[in-house]
Protein backbone atom coordinates (compact mmCIF):
# COMPACT_ATOMS: atom_id res chain seq x y z
CA UNK A 1 0.00 0.00 0.00
CA UNK A 2 2.83 2.32 0.99
CA UNK A 3 4.67 1.43 -2.22
CA UNK A 4 1.56 2.19 -4.21
CA UNK A 5 1.21 5.55 -2.51
CA UNK A 6 4.79 6.60 -3.18
CA UNK A 7 4.40 5.24 -6.72
CA UNK A 8 1.39 7.38 -7.51
CA UNK A 9 3.13 10.48 -6.19
CA UNK A 10 6.09 9.78 -8.45
CA UNK A 11 3.67 9.48 -11.36
CA UNK A 12 1.87 12.69 -10.42
CA UNK A 13 5.04 14.70 -9.84
CA UNK A 14 6.75 13.46 -13.02
CA UNK A 15 3.69 14.28 -15.09
CA UNK A 16 2.84 17.58 -13.39
CA UNK A 17 6.35 19.04 -13.45
CA UNK A 18 6.69 18.36 -17.16
CA UNK A 19 3.27 19.83 -17.93
CA UNK A 20 4.02 22.85 -15.76
CA UNK A 21 7.23 23.47 -17.71
CA UNK A 22 5.32 23.22 -20.99
CA UNK A 23 2.86 25.84 -19.79
CA UNK A 24 5.75 28.00 -18.57
CA UNK A 25 7.34 27.77 -22.02
CA UNK A 26 4.08 28.62 -23.77
CA UNK A 27 3.32 31.59 -21.50
CA UNK A 28 6.70 33.32 -21.59
CA UNK A 29 6.28 33.87 -25.31
CA UNK A 30 2.87 35.45 -24.68
CA UNK A 31 4.08 37.55 -21.75
CA UNK A 32 7.10 38.81 -23.67
CA UNK A 33 5.23 39.23 -26.97
CA UNK A 34 5.66 43.05 -27.13
CA UNK A 35 9.46 42.75 -26.77
CA UNK A 36 9.66 39.75 -29.10
CA UNK A 37 7.68 41.70 -31.70
CA UNK A 38 10.23 44.50 -31.63
CA UNK A 39 13.14 42.05 -31.86
CA UNK A 40 11.77 39.78 -34.55
CA UNK A 41 8.70 41.36 -36.13
CA UNK A 42 9.35 45.07 -36.67
CA UNK A 43 6.17 46.77 -37.88
CA UNK A 44 7.96 48.65 -40.64
CA UNK A 45 9.29 45.41 -42.09
CA UNK A 46 6.13 44.56 -44.00
CA UNK A 47 5.52 40.83 -44.06
CA UNK A 48 7.12 40.27 -40.67
CA UNK A 49 4.02 41.77 -39.01
CA UNK A 50 1.99 39.09 -40.75
CA UNK A 51 4.26 36.40 -39.39
CA UNK A 52 3.74 37.90 -35.94
CA UNK A 53 0.00 37.53 -36.30
CA UNK A 54 0.46 33.97 -37.51
CA UNK A 55 2.73 33.18 -34.56
CA UNK A 56 0.17 34.43 -32.07
CA UNK A 57 -2.99 33.21 -33.78
CA UNK A 58 -2.00 30.00 -35.47
CA UNK A 59 -0.09 28.58 -32.49
CA UNK A 60 -3.22 28.67 -30.36
CA UNK A 61 -6.02 28.08 -32.79
CA UNK A 62 -4.75 25.72 -35.47
CA UNK A 63 -1.62 24.06 -34.23
CA UNK A 64 -2.82 23.10 -30.75
CA UNK A 65 -5.77 21.00 -31.96
CA UNK A 66 -3.55 19.64 -34.74
CA UNK A 67 -0.94 18.66 -32.10
CA UNK A 68 -3.72 16.95 -30.16
CA UNK A 69 -4.46 14.78 -33.22
CA UNK A 70 -0.84 14.04 -34.13
CA UNK A 71 0.39 13.21 -30.64
CA UNK A 72 -2.91 11.71 -29.52
CA UNK A 73 -2.64 9.19 -32.33
CA UNK A 74 0.99 8.51 -31.47
CA UNK A 75 0.11 8.09 -27.78
CA UNK A 76 -2.58 5.55 -28.57
CA UNK A 77 -0.28 3.56 -30.87
CA UNK A 78 3.21 3.84 -29.35
CA UNK A 79 2.30 4.63 -25.75
CA UNK A 80 1.80 7.53 -23.35
CA UNK A 81 5.28 7.68 -21.87
CA UNK A 82 7.29 8.14 -25.06
CA UNK A 83 4.75 10.50 -26.57
CA UNK A 84 4.66 12.97 -23.73
CA UNK A 85 8.42 12.66 -23.43
CA UNK A 86 8.62 13.73 -27.07
CA UNK A 87 6.27 16.70 -26.56
CA UNK A 88 8.40 17.84 -23.63
CA UNK A 89 11.61 17.65 -25.69
CA UNK A 90 10.00 19.52 -28.58
CA UNK A 91 8.62 22.24 -26.34
CA UNK A 92 11.84 22.64 -24.33
CA UNK A 93 14.17 22.73 -27.32
CA UNK A 94 12.04 25.20 -29.28
CA UNK A 95 11.75 27.50 -26.24
CA UNK A 96 15.50 27.36 -25.67
CA UNK A 97 16.11 28.03 -29.37
CA UNK A 98 13.89 31.14 -29.31
CA UNK A 99 16.22 32.51 -26.62
CA UNK A 100 19.20 32.05 -28.96
CA UNK A 101 17.92 33.43 -32.28
CA UNK A 102 19.61 36.65 -33.42
CA UNK A 103 17.21 39.54 -33.96
CA UNK A 104 15.81 40.94 -37.21
CA UNK A 105 18.63 43.50 -37.32
CA UNK A 106 21.25 40.73 -37.46
CA UNK A 107 19.79 38.08 -39.77
CA UNK A 108 16.87 39.91 -41.37
CA UNK A 109 13.82 38.06 -42.57
CA UNK A 110 15.16 34.69 -41.38
CA UNK A 111 14.59 35.79 -37.76
CA UNK A 112 10.78 36.06 -37.85
CA UNK A 113 10.56 32.91 -39.99
CA UNK A 114 12.55 30.86 -37.48
CA UNK A 115 10.57 32.28 -34.55
CA UNK A 116 7.31 31.47 -36.30
CA UNK A 117 8.44 27.89 -36.94
CA UNK A 118 9.52 27.46 -33.31
CA UNK A 119 6.30 28.98 -32.01
CA UNK A 120 4.29 26.56 -34.12
CA UNK A 121 6.33 23.67 -32.71
CA UNK A 122 5.49 24.99 -29.23
CA UNK A 123 1.78 24.95 -30.06
CA UNK A 124 2.08 21.47 -31.53
CA UNK A 125 3.86 20.16 -28.43
CA UNK A 126 1.36 21.75 -26.08
CA UNK A 127 -1.44 20.10 -28.04
CA UNK A 128 0.10 16.71 -27.35
CA UNK A 129 1.26 17.20 -23.79
CA UNK A 130 -1.88 17.67 -21.74
CA UNK A 131 -3.77 14.61 -22.98
CA UNK A 132 -0.74 12.45 -22.32
CA UNK A 133 -0.16 13.70 -18.80
CA UNK A 134 -3.84 13.49 -17.83
CA UNK A 135 -4.22 10.02 -19.34
CA UNK A 136 -0.99 8.79 -17.77
CA UNK A 137 -1.98 9.89 -14.26
CA UNK A 138 -5.59 8.71 -14.63
CA UNK A 139 -4.46 5.27 -15.80
CA UNK A 140 -2.34 4.94 -12.68
CA UNK A 141 -5.07 6.15 -10.32
CA UNK A 142 -7.52 4.05 -8.33
CA UNK A 143 -11.11 4.65 -9.44
CA UNK A 144 -12.21 6.60 -6.38
CA UNK A 145 -9.23 8.96 -6.42
CA UNK A 146 -9.01 9.73 -10.11
CA UNK A 147 -10.41 13.25 -9.71
CA UNK A 148 -8.03 14.01 -6.84
CA UNK A 149 -4.91 12.70 -8.54
CA UNK A 150 -5.54 14.21 -11.98
CA UNK A 151 -6.35 17.57 -10.38
CA UNK A 152 -2.61 17.98 -9.75
CA UNK A 153 -2.16 18.14 -13.52
CA UNK A 154 -4.87 20.81 -13.56
CA UNK A 155 -2.90 23.09 -11.24
CA UNK A 156 0.00 23.25 -13.68
CA UNK A 157 -1.56 25.72 -16.12
CA UNK A 158 -2.08 28.31 -13.39
CA UNK A 159 1.23 27.63 -11.65
CA UNK A 160 3.00 27.75 -15.03
CA UNK A 161 1.57 31.22 -15.59
CA UNK A 162 2.64 32.41 -12.13
CA UNK A 163 6.14 30.93 -12.49
CA UNK A 164 6.58 32.56 -15.89
CA UNK A 165 5.55 35.95 -14.48
CA UNK A 166 7.82 35.55 -11.44
CA UNK A 167 10.85 34.61 -13.59
CA UNK A 168 10.22 37.57 -15.91
CA UNK A 169 9.80 39.95 -12.96
CA UNK A 170 12.98 38.66 -11.26
CA UNK A 171 15.02 39.14 -14.43
CA UNK A 172 13.47 42.59 -14.96
CA UNK A 173 14.28 43.72 -11.44
CA UNK A 174 17.93 42.77 -11.78
CA UNK A 175 18.67 44.90 -14.82
CA UNK A 176 17.67 48.15 -16.42
CA UNK A 177 14.74 48.32 -18.85
CA UNK A 178 17.20 48.91 -21.69
CA UNK A 179 19.24 45.82 -20.77
CA UNK A 180 16.09 43.72 -20.44
CA UNK A 181 14.78 44.82 -23.83
CA UNK A 182 18.21 44.30 -25.35
CA UNK A 183 19.13 40.81 -24.10
CA UNK A 184 17.49 40.18 -20.69
CA UNK A 185 14.25 38.88 -22.22
CA UNK A 186 16.21 35.88 -23.50
CA UNK A 187 17.00 34.63 -19.98
CA UNK A 188 13.49 33.23 -19.20
CA UNK A 189 13.69 31.27 -22.47
CA UNK A 190 17.15 29.92 -21.67
CA UNK A 191 16.16 29.02 -18.09
CA UNK A 192 13.62 26.64 -19.63
CA UNK A 193 16.43 24.33 -20.77
CA UNK A 194 17.46 23.53 -17.18
CA UNK A 195 13.88 22.83 -16.16
CA UNK A 196 13.24 20.65 -19.19
CA UNK A 197 16.41 18.57 -18.71
CA UNK A 198 15.39 17.84 -15.10
CA UNK A 199 11.89 16.94 -16.21
CA UNK A 200 13.10 14.70 -19.04
CA UNK A 201 15.37 12.87 -16.58
CA UNK A 202 12.41 12.28 -14.24
CA UNK A 203 10.08 11.15 -17.01
CA UNK A 204 12.69 8.81 -18.54
CA UNK A 205 12.68 6.84 -15.30
CA UNK A 206 8.92 6.32 -15.37
CA UNK A 207 7.21 3.21 -16.72
CA UNK A 208 4.56 3.08 -19.40
CA UNK A 209 0.96 3.41 -18.22
CA UNK A 210 -0.07 -0.02 -16.84
CA UNK A 211 -3.40 0.03 -18.68
CA UNK A 212 -1.75 0.79 -21.99
CA UNK A 213 0.99 -1.82 -21.36
CA UNK A 214 -1.65 -4.44 -20.70
CA UNK A 215 -3.55 -3.42 -23.81
CA UNK A 216 -0.38 -3.65 -25.87
CA UNK A 217 0.67 -7.02 -24.49
CA UNK A 218 -2.83 -8.31 -25.28
CA UNK A 219 -2.49 -6.94 -28.82
CA UNK A 220 -5.60 -4.78 -28.38
CA UNK A 221 -4.19 -1.34 -29.17
CA UNK A 222 -5.91 0.66 -31.86
CA UNK A 223 -4.44 0.44 -35.37
CA UNK A 224 -6.05 3.71 -36.46
CA UNK A 225 -7.05 5.81 -33.41
CA UNK A 226 -8.13 8.80 -35.53
CA UNK A 227 -10.58 6.73 -37.54
CA UNK A 228 -11.82 4.95 -34.44
CA UNK A 229 -12.24 8.21 -32.52
CA UNK A 230 -14.04 10.27 -35.10
CA UNK A 231 -15.80 7.89 -37.47
CA UNK A 232 -17.45 5.54 -34.97
CA UNK A 233 -20.72 7.09 -33.89
CA UNK A 234 -20.55 5.83 -30.29
CA UNK A 235 -17.23 7.58 -29.79
CA UNK A 236 -17.84 10.66 -31.94
CA UNK A 237 -20.96 11.56 -29.99
CA UNK A 238 -18.88 11.50 -26.80
CA UNK A 239 -16.18 13.69 -28.41
CA UNK A 240 -18.87 16.22 -29.41
CA UNK A 241 -20.51 16.07 -26.00
CA UNK A 242 -17.14 16.63 -24.31
CA UNK A 243 -16.55 19.69 -26.51
CA UNK A 244 -19.96 21.37 -26.44
CA UNK A 245 -21.05 20.25 -22.98
CA UNK A 246 -17.83 20.75 -21.04
CA UNK A 247 -14.56 22.03 -22.56
CA UNK A 248 -16.11 24.90 -24.55
CA UNK A 249 -17.51 26.51 -21.39
CA UNK A 250 -14.47 25.54 -19.36
CA UNK A 251 -12.20 27.25 -21.91
CA UNK A 252 -13.97 30.62 -21.77
CA UNK A 253 -14.28 30.55 -17.96
CA UNK A 254 -10.57 29.77 -17.75
CA UNK A 255 -9.45 32.54 -20.11
CA UNK A 256 -11.82 35.12 -18.63
CA UNK A 257 -10.80 34.41 -15.03
CA UNK A 258 -7.07 34.56 -15.58
CA UNK A 259 -6.26 36.42 -18.77
CA UNK A 260 -9.20 38.70 -19.51
CA UNK A 261 -9.23 39.85 -15.88
CA UNK A 262 -5.57 40.89 -16.18
CA UNK A 263 -6.12 42.57 -19.52
CA UNK A 264 -9.23 44.40 -18.25
CA UNK A 265 -7.47 45.72 -15.14
CA UNK A 266 -4.46 46.87 -17.12
CA UNK A 267 -5.98 48.15 -20.37
CA UNK A 268 -9.55 49.14 -19.54
CA UNK A 269 -9.27 50.20 -15.88
CA UNK A 270 -5.76 51.52 -16.57
CA UNK A 271 -4.33 50.22 -13.31
CA UNK A 272 -0.53 50.36 -13.30
CA UNK A 273 1.15 47.22 -14.62
CA UNK A 274 2.76 46.10 -11.34
CA UNK A 275 -0.50 46.34 -9.39
CA UNK A 276 -2.51 44.55 -12.09
CA UNK A 277 0.01 41.68 -12.21
CA UNK A 278 0.18 41.61 -8.38
CA UNK A 279 -3.61 41.36 -8.06
CA UNK A 280 -3.90 38.48 -10.53
CA UNK A 281 -0.90 36.61 -9.16
CA UNK A 282 -2.15 36.78 -5.58
CA UNK A 283 -5.61 35.64 -6.65
CA UNK A 284 -4.19 32.68 -8.59
CA UNK A 285 -1.90 31.67 -5.72
CA UNK A 286 -4.78 31.79 -3.19
CA UNK A 287 -7.14 29.88 -5.49
CA UNK A 288 -4.77 27.19 -6.79
CA UNK A 289 -5.36 24.74 -3.86
CA UNK A 290 -9.02 24.65 -4.91
CA UNK A 291 -8.09 22.73 -8.07
CA UNK A 292 -7.17 19.87 -5.73
CA UNK A 293 -10.25 20.45 -3.56
CA UNK A 294 -12.70 20.31 -6.45
CA UNK A 295 -10.85 17.34 -7.98
CA UNK A 296 -11.25 15.55 -4.66
CA UNK A 297 -14.88 16.65 -4.32
CA UNK A 298 -15.66 15.38 -7.83
CA UNK A 299 -14.67 11.88 -6.65
CA UNK A 300 -17.32 12.18 -3.94
CA UNK A 301 -20.26 13.87 -5.69
CA UNK A 302 -19.48 13.55 -9.41
CA UNK A 303 -17.83 15.84 -11.95
CA UNK A 304 -20.89 17.21 -13.71
CA UNK A 305 -22.44 19.47 -11.10
CA UNK A 306 -19.17 21.04 -9.98
CA UNK A 307 -18.22 21.98 -13.54
CA UNK A 308 -21.69 23.25 -14.38
CA UNK A 309 -21.90 25.30 -11.18
CA UNK A 310 -18.58 26.97 -12.08
CA UNK A 311 -19.99 27.92 -15.50
CA UNK A 312 -23.31 29.14 -14.08
CA UNK A 313 -21.61 31.32 -11.46
CA UNK A 314 -19.44 32.86 -14.18
CA UNK A 315 -22.52 33.63 -16.30
CA UNK A 316 -24.34 35.23 -13.36
CA UNK A 317 -21.54 37.22 -11.76
CA UNK A 318 -19.12 38.40 -14.45
CA UNK A 319 -21.01 41.63 -15.13
CA UNK A 320 -21.26 42.73 -11.44
CA UNK A 321 -17.60 41.80 -10.88
CA UNK A 322 -16.29 43.79 -13.84
CA UNK A 323 -18.62 46.71 -13.07
CA UNK A 324 -17.00 46.87 -9.61
CA UNK A 325 -13.56 47.05 -11.27
CA UNK A 326 -14.73 49.97 -13.38
CA UNK A 327 -16.47 51.84 -10.53
CA UNK A 328 -13.45 51.60 -8.25
CA UNK A 329 -11.12 53.02 -10.90
CA UNK A 330 -13.42 55.74 -12.25
CA UNK A 331 -11.35 58.90 -11.64
CA UNK A 332 -14.18 61.34 -12.38
CA UNK A 333 -16.49 59.76 -9.82
CA UNK A 334 -13.84 59.22 -7.15
CA UNK A 335 -12.51 62.78 -7.48
CA UNK A 336 -16.02 64.15 -6.83
CA UNK A 337 -16.00 62.86 -3.26
CA UNK A 338 -12.29 62.92 -2.40
CA UNK A 339 -9.99 65.92 -2.10
CA UNK A 340 -6.66 66.16 -3.89
CA UNK A 341 -3.79 65.52 -1.50
CA UNK A 342 -0.95 66.38 -3.82
CA UNK A 343 -0.24 66.96 -7.48
CA UNK A 344 3.12 66.98 -9.22
CA UNK A 345 4.28 69.93 -11.31
CA UNK A 346 2.70 69.53 -14.77
CA UNK A 347 5.01 68.70 -17.64
CA UNK A 348 3.93 70.59 -20.74
CA UNK A 349 4.97 69.61 -24.25
CA UNK A 350 3.97 71.32 -27.47
CA UNK A 351 4.05 69.85 -30.95
CA UNK A 352 3.28 71.75 -34.14
CA UNK A 353 1.33 69.91 -36.82
CA UNK A 354 1.78 70.21 -40.59
CA UNK A 355 -1.17 72.62 -40.82
CA UNK A 356 0.43 74.93 -38.18
CA UNK A 357 -2.01 73.89 -35.45
CA UNK A 358 -0.39 72.97 -32.14
CA UNK A 359 -0.97 70.02 -29.81
CA UNK A 360 -0.28 70.88 -26.17
CA UNK A 361 0.07 67.94 -23.80
CA UNK A 362 0.00 68.50 -20.05
CA UNK A 363 0.95 65.58 -17.84
CA UNK A 364 0.99 65.33 -14.05
CA UNK A 365 0.45 62.77 -11.30
CA UNK A 366 -2.36 63.36 -8.82
CA UNK A 367 -2.74 61.70 -5.43
CA UNK A 368 -6.09 61.92 -3.65
CA UNK A 369 -6.62 62.04 0.12
CA UNK A 370 -7.73 58.37 0.24
CA UNK A 371 -4.49 57.21 -1.44
CA UNK A 372 -5.90 56.77 -4.95
CA UNK A 373 -3.36 58.10 -7.47
CA UNK A 374 -3.29 58.47 -11.22
CA UNK A 375 -1.38 60.03 -14.08
CA UNK A 376 -3.43 62.66 -15.90
CA UNK A 377 -2.69 63.65 -19.48
CA UNK A 378 -4.63 66.56 -20.99
CA UNK A 379 -4.29 67.00 -24.73
CA UNK A 380 -5.37 70.34 -26.24
CA UNK A 381 -5.35 71.22 -29.90
CA UNK A 382 -4.63 74.90 -30.46
CA UNK A 383 -5.92 76.05 -33.83
CA UNK A 384 -3.64 78.60 -35.54
CA UNK A 385 -6.64 80.85 -36.21
CA UNK A 386 -8.04 80.69 -32.70
CA UNK A 387 -5.30 82.84 -31.15
CA UNK A 388 -4.28 80.41 -28.45
CA UNK A 389 -7.75 79.17 -27.48
CA UNK A 390 -7.56 75.36 -27.05
CA UNK A 391 -10.01 73.04 -28.77
CA UNK A 392 -10.88 69.37 -28.43
CA UNK A 393 -9.50 69.10 -24.89
CA UNK A 394 -9.14 65.42 -24.07
CA UNK A 395 -8.15 63.99 -20.69
CA UNK A 396 -6.71 60.51 -20.31
CA UNK A 397 -6.11 58.82 -16.95
CA UNK A 398 -3.51 56.08 -16.72
CA UNK A 399 -1.14 54.27 -14.34
CA UNK A 400 -3.81 54.33 -11.65
CA UNK A 401 -2.88 53.19 -8.19
CA UNK A 402 -6.00 52.08 -6.34
CA UNK A 403 -6.57 52.42 -2.60
CA UNK A 404 -5.50 49.58 -0.33
CA UNK A 405 -9.11 48.50 0.28
CA UNK A 406 -9.89 48.54 -3.45
CA UNK A 407 -6.69 46.58 -4.14
CA UNK A 408 -7.72 43.76 -1.82
CA UNK A 409 -11.29 43.93 -3.10
CA UNK A 410 -9.89 43.37 -6.60
CA UNK A 411 -7.72 40.48 -5.37
CA UNK A 412 -10.88 38.93 -3.92
CA UNK A 413 -12.89 39.45 -7.10
CA UNK A 414 -10.18 37.92 -9.30
CA UNK A 415 -9.86 35.13 -6.72
CA UNK A 416 -13.60 34.45 -7.11
CA UNK A 417 -13.15 34.20 -10.87
CA UNK A 418 -10.19 31.84 -10.50
CA UNK A 419 -12.33 29.83 -8.08
CA UNK A 420 -14.79 29.32 -10.94
CA UNK A 421 -11.80 28.23 -13.02
CA UNK A 422 -10.89 25.64 -10.39
CA UNK A 423 -14.49 24.36 -10.40
CA UNK A 424 -14.64 23.84 -14.16
CA UNK A 425 -11.00 22.87 -14.67
CA UNK A 426 -10.19 20.83 -11.52
CA UNK A 427 -12.38 17.80 -12.38
CA UNK A 428 -12.19 17.99 -16.16
CA UNK A 429 -9.19 15.69 -16.72
CA UNK A 430 -10.92 12.88 -14.82
CA UNK A 431 -14.17 13.68 -16.64
CA UNK A 432 -12.51 13.44 -20.06
CA UNK A 433 -10.53 10.25 -19.46
CA UNK A 434 -13.67 8.53 -18.18
CA UNK A 435 -15.54 9.27 -21.39
CA UNK A 436 -13.25 7.25 -23.63
CA UNK A 437 -11.79 3.73 -23.71
CA UNK A 438 -8.06 3.18 -23.19
CA UNK A 439 -7.28 2.22 -26.80
CA UNK A 440 -8.27 5.67 -28.15
CA UNK A 441 -8.29 7.78 -24.99
CA UNK A 442 -5.27 10.00 -25.76
CA UNK A 443 -6.65 10.98 -29.19
CA UNK A 444 -10.29 11.30 -28.17
CA UNK A 445 -9.79 13.46 -25.08
CA UNK A 446 -7.06 15.71 -26.49
CA UNK A 447 -9.05 17.17 -29.38
CA UNK A 448 -12.10 18.48 -27.47
CA UNK A 449 -9.80 19.77 -24.74
CA UNK A 450 -7.67 21.81 -27.14
CA UNK A 451 -10.57 23.08 -29.23
CA UNK A 452 -12.36 24.13 -26.04
CA UNK A 453 -9.33 25.87 -24.59
CA UNK A 454 -7.31 26.87 -27.63
CA UNK A 455 -10.16 28.03 -29.87
CA UNK A 456 -13.10 28.99 -27.65
CA UNK A 457 -10.91 30.13 -24.74
CA UNK A 458 -8.21 31.62 -26.94
CA UNK A 459 -10.75 33.78 -28.78
CA UNK A 460 -11.84 35.56 -25.56
CA UNK A 461 -9.43 38.52 -25.95
CA UNK A 462 -10.03 38.92 -29.70
CA UNK A 463 -13.83 38.63 -29.77
CA UNK A 464 -14.32 40.58 -26.53
CA UNK A 465 -12.25 43.46 -27.91
CA UNK A 466 -14.22 43.29 -31.16
CA UNK A 467 -17.57 43.53 -29.34
CA UNK A 468 -16.29 46.52 -27.34
CA UNK A 469 -15.29 48.38 -30.50
CA UNK A 470 -18.83 47.93 -31.87
CA UNK A 471 -20.68 48.93 -28.72
CA UNK A 472 -18.25 51.36 -27.04
CA UNK A 473 -19.24 49.79 -23.73
CA UNK A 474 -16.28 48.41 -21.77
CA UNK A 475 -18.42 45.67 -20.22
CA UNK A 476 -19.90 44.43 -23.49
CA UNK A 477 -16.85 42.25 -24.19
CA UNK A 478 -18.12 39.92 -21.47
CA UNK A 479 -21.03 38.84 -23.65
CA UNK A 480 -18.80 36.41 -25.55
CA UNK A 481 -17.69 34.30 -22.54
CA UNK A 482 -21.12 34.64 -20.91
CA UNK A 483 -23.01 33.37 -23.99
CA UNK A 484 -20.56 30.53 -24.68
CA UNK A 485 -20.58 29.45 -21.02
CA UNK A 486 -24.40 29.67 -20.91
CA UNK A 487 -24.80 27.50 -24.04
CA UNK A 488 -22.29 25.01 -22.65
CA UNK A 489 -24.14 24.99 -19.31
CA UNK A 490 -27.45 24.14 -21.02
CA UNK A 491 -25.85 21.39 -23.12
CA UNK A 492 -24.06 19.96 -20.08
CA UNK A 493 -27.22 20.15 -17.99
CA UNK A 494 -29.28 18.29 -20.58
CA UNK A 495 -26.90 15.71 -21.93
CA UNK A 496 -24.08 15.00 -19.45
CA UNK A 497 -24.45 12.00 -17.21
CA UNK A 498 -24.15 12.80 -13.49
CA UNK A 499 -22.46 9.46 -12.97
CA UNK A 500 -19.09 9.68 -11.22
CA UNK A 501 -16.10 7.39 -10.93
CA UNK A 502 -16.71 5.38 -14.05
CA UNK A 503 -14.46 2.40 -14.42
CA UNK A 504 -11.43 3.38 -16.44
CA UNK A 505 -10.04 -0.16 -16.24
CA UNK A 506 -12.18 -1.02 -19.25
CA UNK A 507 -9.77 -3.35 -20.97
CA UNK A 508 -8.46 -5.09 -17.90
CA UNK A 509 -9.70 -7.36 -15.20
CA UNK A 510 -11.29 -5.65 -12.22
CA UNK A 511 -8.71 -6.74 -9.66
CA UNK A 512 -5.85 -5.24 -11.65
CA UNK A 513 -3.98 -2.66 -9.58
CA UNK A 514 -2.15 -0.25 -11.87
CA UNK A 515 -0.01 1.06 -9.04
CA UNK A 516 1.76 -2.26 -8.63
CA UNK A 517 3.68 -1.68 -11.80
CA UNK A 518 5.03 1.73 -10.88
CA UNK A 519 8.66 1.98 -9.99
Amino acid sequence: MKGSQSGIWKVISASSVGTLIEWYDFYIFGSLAPIISKQFFPANAGTSALLSTLAIFAAGFIVRPFGALVFGRLGDIVGRKYTFLLTLILMGSSTFAIGLIPGYKSIGFAAPLIVLALRLIQGLALGGEYGGAATYVAEHSPTKKRGLYTSWIQTTASIGLVVSLIVIMLVRENMSTGQFNDYGWRIPFLVSAILVIISIYIRMRMNESPLFSKLKSDGKTSVNPLKESFSHKLNLKMVLLALFGATMGQGVIWYTGQFYALSFLENTCKINFDDAIGIVMKAIIFATPFFIFFGWLSDKIGRKWIMLLGMLLGVLTYFPIYRTFLNNTNVTEIAKTTAVKESTVPVITTATLDNKDSVVTTTNTVTLANGFAYKQTITDTVNKDMQGQPQHAKTVYAEKKVTSSAYWCFVFLVFVQVLYVTMVYGPIAAFLVELFPTRIRYTSMSLPYHIGNGVFGGLVPFLSTLIITYTNSPLSGLWYPVIVAAVCFVIGLLYLSPKANQNVLDDSNASFNPLNTVI
Binding site: A49, N235, V490, Y495
Partner: protein, 98 residues
Amino acid sequence: MNIIKRIFGIIWILLAPVCLYFLIVNALHAFAKADKAIEAAATEAAKTAAEAAKTNTILQWSIIIIIFLPIAAGLVIFGKYAFTGEYDSTAPAQNTMA
Protein backbone atom coordinates in the same frame (compact mmCIF):
# COMPACT_ATOMS: atom_id res chain seq x y z
CA MET B 1 -36.54 14.83 -20.41
CA ASN B 2 -35.75 12.93 -23.60
CA ILE B 3 -38.23 15.11 -25.51
CA ILE B 4 -36.51 18.28 -24.27
CA LYS B 5 -33.15 16.85 -25.30
CA ARG B 6 -34.49 16.18 -28.79
CA ILE B 7 -36.15 19.60 -29.18
CA PHE B 8 -32.92 21.32 -28.17
CA GLY B 9 -31.21 19.26 -30.88
CA ILE B 10 -32.93 21.47 -33.46
CA ILE B 11 -31.57 24.56 -31.70
CA TRP B 12 -28.00 23.23 -31.86
CA ILE B 13 -28.43 22.45 -35.56
CA LEU B 14 -29.62 26.02 -36.22
CA LEU B 15 -27.04 27.61 -33.95
CA ALA B 16 -24.11 26.50 -36.13
CA PRO B 17 -25.07 28.43 -39.32
CA VAL B 18 -26.13 31.42 -37.20
CA CYS B 19 -22.68 31.57 -35.58
CA LEU B 20 -21.01 31.15 -38.95
CA TYR B 21 -23.15 33.94 -40.42
CA PHE B 22 -22.24 36.19 -37.47
CA LEU B 23 -18.52 35.54 -38.03
CA ILE B 24 -18.67 36.12 -41.80
CA VAL B 25 -20.68 39.35 -41.43
CA ASN B 26 -18.21 40.64 -38.87
CA ALA B 27 -15.28 39.66 -41.07
CA LEU B 28 -16.76 41.57 -44.03
CA HIS B 29 -17.41 44.54 -41.76
CA ALA B 30 -13.79 44.45 -40.57
CA PHE B 31 -12.52 44.27 -44.17
CA ALA B 32 -14.67 47.26 -45.16
CA LYS B 33 -13.38 49.20 -42.16
CA ALA B 34 -9.80 48.38 -43.17
CA ASP B 35 -10.53 49.58 -46.74
CA LYS B 36 -11.85 52.88 -45.39
CA ALA B 37 -8.69 53.30 -43.32
CA ILE B 38 -6.58 52.89 -46.47
CA GLU B 39 -8.69 55.47 -48.32
CA ALA B 40 -8.46 57.88 -45.39
CA ALA B 41 -4.67 57.59 -45.08
CA ALA B 42 -3.15 61.03 -45.66
CA THR B 43 0.50 60.11 -46.12
CA GLU B 44 2.28 57.30 -47.95
CA ALA B 45 3.54 55.86 -44.65
CA ALA B 46 0.03 55.85 -43.20
CA LYS B 47 -1.24 54.12 -46.34
CA THR B 48 1.42 51.41 -46.10
CA ALA B 49 0.53 50.86 -42.44
CA ALA B 50 -3.19 50.70 -43.23
CA GLU B 51 -2.56 48.18 -46.03
CA ALA B 52 -0.52 46.01 -43.68
CA ALA B 53 -3.31 46.27 -41.12
CA LYS B 54 -5.84 45.14 -43.74
CA THR B 55 -3.76 42.10 -44.67
CA ASN B 56 -3.50 41.30 -40.97
CA THR B 57 -7.25 41.63 -40.55
CA ILE B 58 -7.90 39.31 -43.49
CA LEU B 59 -5.44 36.78 -42.08
CA GLN B 60 -6.94 36.86 -38.57
CA TRP B 61 -10.50 36.46 -39.76
CA SER B 62 -9.58 33.78 -42.28
CA ILE B 63 -7.95 31.72 -39.55
CA ILE B 64 -10.98 32.14 -37.28
CA ILE B 65 -13.52 31.23 -39.98
CA ILE B 66 -11.49 28.28 -41.30
CA ILE B 67 -11.03 26.84 -37.81
CA PHE B 68 -14.69 27.43 -36.98
CA LEU B 69 -16.02 25.57 -40.07
CA PRO B 70 -15.35 22.06 -38.72
CA ILE B 71 -16.57 23.18 -35.27
CA ALA B 72 -19.85 24.37 -36.82
CA ALA B 73 -20.12 21.05 -38.68
CA GLY B 74 -19.56 19.31 -35.34
CA LEU B 75 -22.35 21.34 -33.75
CA VAL B 76 -24.73 20.32 -36.55
CA ILE B 77 -23.80 16.65 -36.07
CA PHE B 78 -24.19 17.05 -32.30
CA GLY B 79 -27.64 18.58 -32.84
CA LYS B 80 -28.58 15.79 -35.21
CA TYR B 81 -27.53 13.15 -32.67
CA ALA B 82 -29.50 14.95 -29.96
CA PHE B 83 -32.55 15.23 -32.23
CA THR B 84 -32.46 11.55 -33.19
CA GLY B 85 -32.24 10.47 -29.57
CA GLU B 86 -28.61 9.40 -29.44
CA TYR B 87 -28.26 11.16 -26.08
CA ASP B 88 -31.52 9.85 -24.65
CA SER B 89 -31.27 8.21 -21.26
CA THR B 90 -31.90 4.82 -22.85
CA ALA B 91 -29.44 5.30 -25.72
CA PRO B 92 -26.34 3.06 -25.80
CA ALA B 93 -23.44 4.65 -23.91
CA GLN B 94 -19.74 4.16 -24.63
CA ASN B 95 -19.64 0.42 -24.93
CA THR B 96 -16.36 0.02 -23.08
CA MET B 97 -17.32 1.95 -19.97
CA ALA B 98 -18.53 0.09 -16.95
